[in-house]
Subunit: 178 residues, 2 copies
């Protein structure tokens, strides 16, 4: 398994607090245990590291996604399974990465209704946005364009983390052995 | 050798036209042939991909170096020998990457006098700078701080490409087998 020549990019997209990072963490642990080279790229962390100066406009968000895609592609080329969790609200940017990567790109729509995400509000974003302290929160006062052709959809409002994890792993196993 | 768990970062620093990319290309070929996972990161290409908006001030150049370092570190973590060629004119930025990486960071000072580099002028930078069409060219109207503790120095004005390549490979072999 370590000798496979090419990796995969598993791209978790969804609203803030939809459960992208939770799912990515669970899958990361499983893949590590199974002996795969794996890396997690978190949209917020990547932004801090190399998108200083980018804001939350459509262009800037898409530029951030392009940069994450660039790094993910480099890692994938060296056999790494890259788990990206980033809101990535615009379809055009996700599809741009998809067409650059080709077959190795797997889009996972981490889907929960806005009211559920807002109830969780892991980062306090929605609260701040409701208080008008911040703007451009995807799904609230900024668009979130749901995927139209995601390889996998996880309904985190009705599935448990274990169920969603199994669903993704099942798909990955097919792809990795195929 | 493919199973080594950790890679290396070989960081070529020097003036424009000092021969960084030439040397990186030659070493890349040799490492590939020897079966190593290898990747080249070129400062100009990386800048185009994820430093849009950064200029050539001290801060912006250092930020670009930090970003290259971030990507190189990710690749190194997965067993890749990363060959970075970037002018990287400021010691503080190179040393910041060095201290983050630790032992796996190898600085190669690609050294030729300015007049030799200007004579080569592979990218036409010096010509444009002399004509005042561009500014902030390292070594000319912007500083280049030579390394004080590079692991390897290649004098590309007096050594052949083969000699410089051998020098670096010799060092790498010791590190990779040690």
């Amino acid at each position: 398994m370590q000798n496979m020549t090419d990796g995969l990019i598993v791209w978790f997209t969804g609203l803030s607090s939809a459960g992208k990072t939770t799912l990515s963490n669970a899958i990361y642990e499983k893949l590590l245990l199974a002996g795969y080279r794996t890396e997690q790229l978190d949209g917020d962390i990547v932004r801090r590291h190399f998108s200083r100066g980018l804001g939350f406009s459509r262009d800037d968000r898409n530029e951030n996604i392009r940069r994450i895609g660039f790094v993910a592609e480099l890692l994938k080329r060296h056999g790494v399974i890259v788990l990206v969790s980033a809101i990535s609200p615009y379809r055009e940017a996700r599809d741009e990465v998809r067409s650059r990567i080709g077959e190795g790109f797997i889009e996972v729509f981490v889907n929960a209704p806005l009211n559920i995400c807002e109830g969780r509000d892991a980062k306090g974003l929605y609260k701040k946005a409701r208080a008008a302290l911040i703007h451009d929160v995807a799904g609230l006062d900024s668009p979130y364009e749901a995927p139209s052709r995601a390889e996998i959809e996880c309904r985190t409002d009705t599935e448990t983390v274990e169920q969603s994890t199994e669903k993704v792993l099942h798909y990955l196993k097919r792809r990795l052995s195929g």
